[in-house]
């Protein structure tokens, strides 16, 4: 009936399952080898599909990459959006930093995928950076400025402080190989979180 005629592609069970399989495998492979380094065959093998079958769901390699990237981006900024001007600054920032570190530990592939994209000039997300991301950063810039004005935290350049949080927290995902090589006996996430929070926030506390 309408089901087959409907322009709004209603997903069948098989479609949902396979697209999910493909996206998971693609995130792994793309984040490890980069867009050019990854091969469609690699991804197909990883999720147990044939190459033509994978290309039945995503007609071009680039379509698949774009889908993986988009899926990652949406969840990437959720913790920052939650930064609430009405709560205690140190508590809010601690929560944000720890949430970002948890994401780096739990899903380093997502962080690496994003890092790779930006590193290579952000050809697929340039619009996103100048649009939604910039808007969000400006909003949180205002939050930090208000906290400073109210004397709740010491003065700091809000934008560069956000960059610092991103840089450090994502460093533990993007440079995990280096971190693990230099931290002889692996440290517990809780230890790392405490160290990072202290480094970033001690300078902000008043008196």
């Amino acid at each position: 009936m309408l089901k087959t005629k409907a322009k709004t592609a209603a997903k069948t069970r098989i479609q949902s399952e396979n697209q999910d399989l493909i996206l998971k495998a693609a995130l792994d492979v793309f984040s490890t080898y980069g867009f050019r380094g990854a091969t469609v065959d690699q991804i197909a093998v990883k999720c147990g599909l044939s190459k033509p079958n994978l290309l039945y769901y995503f007609r071009r390699k680039e379509d698949l990459y774009a889908a993986v990237l988009e899926q990652t981006l949406t969840e990437w900024l959720a913790p920052l959006r939650m930064l609430d001007v009405n709560n205690d600054p140190i508590a809010e920032l601690t929560r944000y930093i720890e949430a970002k570190l948890d994401m780096s530990f739990a899903n380093p592939a997502a962080s690496k995928l994003f890092a790779n994209e930006i590193l290579h000039g952000a050809p697929h997300v340039a619009k996103y950076l100048k649009g939604p991301l910039k808007d969000l950063v400006e909003a949180k810039n205002a939050v930090l400025r208000q906290w400073i004005t109210e004397g709740k935290i010491r003065s700091v350049d809000p934008r560069h402080f956000i960059f610092a949080i991103w840089a450090i927290t994502q460093h533990y995902a993007d440079f995990s190989v280096q971190v693990e090589a230099l931290l002889k006996p692996a440290e517990k996430p809780a230890t790392i979180k405490a160290a990072v929070v202290e480094i970033l926030l001690r300078g902000l506390k008043v008196s």
Copy 2:
């Protein structure tokens, strides 16, 4: 005479010139597109040589990549080696942070090349990370611990603090596209340096 017999390849003028051209172009291309993404032809065109001619100087693409990477690594850690336990901690750390930022501004390609290598699992420098780099980090770890013991700076996890410096300073090179998109009117290097130094060091100052 000996010149032609010598095992130690004495470079001719043309060799020096062309190898230099090739390494410069290769750094640009590799850092922009990654190892797999870069093509030998691209690099050859960029330095005005034919592909076979380039391959006359570096027989395999991987040899060229290794040469570029090695050249980059040596100069990469120079500023950290200079960290002197006998000088004032804040002055020394300020100098180090500013030196790293200067490197990011002046030669972002080198930073991106290194980031890309680590991001993809450090297949060519794993030995380097566990050897020379680890030794250097441990040495500077000791320096920071001594400063803390002497009460010259407040307590901090030295290794994670070094990671923080690396992460933030290299962020301005590796994520330059994002930074530029979010910093509407471009900021002067001096402004960024002041902001970063403040974020990293304010928490370390005593009393």
